[in-house]
């Protein structure tokens, strides 16, 4: 009996080892496309880094319509790709189906939870990162009014807004926070013209810092801030370099690191299904401080930011998550 168990254990290690050897990652992007300067592009950077380091071949697919999402995921799994990364909440429905059909393939989905035994759901504590940039916005604001421009009006973006508002109020309880959503469809992720208009209307009402969590729409928001000599805060990737002197900071969501780590974990056998929540403590979200904005952030502000960050990680400051109860109390 003992011997059989041993043999089984050995066999398992061997099979795991074999599995670990042939990692051939695949990515199915969101309909926004691979080169969107934001979310999808961050994922592609992460997998590219893995490919460059290991020489592994990464398969990629950009669906052109909704039925191609499912087709793409199934195709990748059928061809033996492992892991298969689904980018964006839109793929949850298709992934649920495909993950059931291919129980031996490792799947990962970013920004959404799919409850299957072979799916790793990667979600971020955007409220923590937004809290930090909200705090910095309040410190930098002279008018006591700050703005927020969201992309598509969904729970995820309200989560950014809610964290931002809490952060701003933490530093200055009397602060006024304006917020606008660009639209209620995916087109809202790519409407820089409207983003710029919304930002301008917030500046007209007295805001002097604006945070855009709006994908490609943000480009218009940053331009408006630059034109009017106000501050803007970037999102997802570190966008500080876009307009040095205007970009106060960026709320960085390490989608690239998450994608990279997923592949790496499958490769070394430490991959686990389930929900993986990445917050400040895990370096999943952060505020960007680099050569482009170090002149805007004084030593005093930096020190305050570091202490707030420590307090969030240690749990001394509790940041409310909008999506826990669909409300920003």
């Amino acid at each position: 009996m003992k011997r059989t168990l041993m043999a089984a254990a050995v066999a398992m290690t061997v099979s795991l080892g074999a599995q670990a050897a042939d990692v051939s990652p695949a990515v199915v992007y969101d309909m926004g496309g691979k080169f969107d300067k934001s979310f999808n592009e961050a994922v592609s950077k992460g997998v590219k880094r893995y490919a460059d380091e290991t020489g592994a071949e990464v398969k990629e697919f950009e669906p052109a319509n909704d039925s191609q999402i499912e087709q793409g995921l199934r195709r990748m799994a059928k061809r033996g790709s492992n892991p298969v990364i689904a980018v964006g909440f839109n793929q949850a429905h298709a992934l649920e189906k495909v993950a059931t059909e291919f129980p031996d393939t490792h799947f990962a989905i970013i920004d959404m939870v799919v409850d299957k035994p072979n799916v790793e759901s990667i979600v971020f504590k955007e409220h923590e990162g937004s809290f930090l940039v909200g705090a910095l916005a309040a410190m930098a604001s002279k008018t006591g009014k700050v703005g927020f421009v969201g992309g598509m009006d969904i729970g995820l973006i309200r989560k950014f807004e809610c964290g931002y508002e809490q952060g701003a109020k933490f530093v200055n309880p009397g602060i006024e926070v304006f917020q606008n959503m660009t639209g209620s469809t995916p087109a809202a992720w790519n409407n820089p013209g409207k983003g710029g208009e919304l930002a301008k209307s917030q500046f007209d009402r007295g805001a002097d810092v604006v945070f855009a969590a709006a994908g490609g729409t943000g480009i218009g928001v940053y331009q408006a801030a630059k034109d009017e000599g106000k501050y803007a805060i970037g999102v997802d990737s570190n966008q500080n370099y876009l307009h040095p002197g205007t970009m106060l900071t960026s709320m960085v969501k390490s989608v690239d690191v998450a994608a990279y780590n997923t592949i790496k974990e499958v490769a070394d056998g430490s991959w686990k299904p389930g929900v993986k929540v990445l917050g400040l403590a895990e370096n999943g979200v952060s505020w960007a401080y680099d050569e482009y904005n170090k002149d805007l952030v004084t030593a005093d502000m930096k020190a305050k930011m570091d202490s707030i960050q420590q307090d969030i990680i240690s749990g001394k400051i509790k940041v409310h998550d909008y999506m826990s109860n669909n409300a920003c109390e």
């Binding site: 052109a64 039925s67 793409g72 429905h93 995820l156 209620s184």
Partner: protein
């Protein structure tokens, strides 16, 4: 339709000319492939294999074909009456809304054999209603149907956005789509039906609405060439003044033809919503309505031609997706370019080879 002088035998006009046009389009595509450093032969192999070479791919090809048959027929019916219906996209979108509303409201109460026919009728009715207004405005007010149908596409899109983000949205999720219908409202997939008969076929979105599309082809053929209504329709299309003289009321014909055209486009909703997605979502019409115009043009507005042209475009869609899988240099935008070239050669440059052919064939005869 005005045609250049010189007569061509029927087979040359119906088969040789379109074939030459398609070959030219593929030749130009091949040159572009060479320019970006990919082998055109290899690409053609991948596309052909992807579209026809294995069961799942073939299923996808026929699934796209189904949509194109519906929208192609819609354009063709209107075209025979001299109307250019550009609104297939919006009519398909709203047709899907009809099917979706029927399922969302009734899927808890009705058995499949009542619910599905009801939803099919609802999608045709909604599509027809969406085309009725442009038809009415054309017939009674003289507003040109090209302009109004284009505008109705935008209206359809805005209406669906509003409904799906505010009224029908499933609160439990982030994407703008309705809840999934209960399983009674799902059209049977072909692979499930074949499995029931003991034949194994790989999973694909192909469902019974493919047969509905073929039935529509037969019905449209019967209507246009074998009924009194079809005669009226063609008379109005070729000369509406003469039609009046023959006792036909063009205004009435225009309205019912537009409704019929809209109903056919609306049936895309049956394939997409009842057949594949099983929920209402944004942009499921994905341009099928516009491709339908090219399909009708290429198919010479005849049901047989439309089936063949739909198959070609279905194969392009599926084979194109396959190309994007297998050749990392080929993005989805390249696939759009191939489709564009085919539309350019078969639509805009349709008669490019005609004078040449006329000369060749007549000299041979002489």
């Amino acid at each position: 339709m005005s045609q250049p002088a010189g007569a061509l035998p029927g087979w040359a006009n119906k088969a040789l000319l379109p074939a030459l046009n398609i070959i030219s389009a593929f030749l130009v595509t091949g040159i572009v492939f060479l320019m970006i450093g990919e082998s055109p032969i290899e690409a053609a192999k991948i596309m052909l294999y992807g579209a026809f070479g294995y069961q799942e791919g073939f299923g996808y090809t026929l699934y796209y074909t189904t949509n194109f048959i519906f929208t192609g027929l819609a354009v063709a019916v209107a075209f025979h009456a001299g109307l250019f219906n550009i609104g297939g996209e919006g009519q398909a979108y709203i047709g899907g809304l009809g099917a979706g509303l029927a399922c969302l409201a009734l899927d808890a109460y009705l058995p499949a054999w009542i619910l599905i026919p009801l939803a099919v009728v609802a999608s045709a009715l909604f599509g027809a209603a969406w085309a009725f207004l442009p038809g009415y405005l054309q017939a009674r007010r003289g507003s040109h149907v090209v302009i109004t149908t284009i505008m109705f596409n935008f209206l359809a899109s805005s209406l669906m956005v509003y409904l799906l983000s505010h009224v029908l949205k499933d609160p439990g999720q982030m994407s703008s789509s309705s809840r999934e219908f209960a399983e009674v409202a799902w059209l049977p997939f072909i692979h499930n039906m074949l499995a029931g008969m003991g034949i194994s076929f790989d999973e694909s979105p192909l469902n019974v609405s493919f047969f509905l599309a073929l039935v529509c082809c037969v019905l449209v053929w019967l209507l246009i060439w074998r009924t009194r209504w079809g005669y009226e329709l063609r008379t109005v299309g070729s000369n509406s003044t003469a039609a009046v003289y023959a006792g036909i009321k063009p205004a009435k014909v225009i309205i019912w033809v537009m409704c019929l055209s809209g109903a056919l486009a609306g049936l895309v909703g049956v394939n997409e919503i009842l057949g594949v997605q099983h929920r209402l979502l944004l942009d499921f019409s994905a341009g099928y309505g516009f491709v339908g115009i090219a399909v009708a043009l290429m198919g010479r507005n005849h049901p047989v031609g439309i089936v063949l042209a739909s198959l070609l475009f279905g194969a392009l869609y599926q084979g194109g997706a396959e190309l994007a899988f297998d050749m990392p240099n080929i993005t989805r935008d390249m696939v759009v370019m191939i489709q564009g070239l085919i539309i350019l050669f078969c639509g805009a440059l349709e008669f490019m080879y005609r004078p040449l052919l006329v000369r060749l064939l007549s000299s041979k005869a002489a």
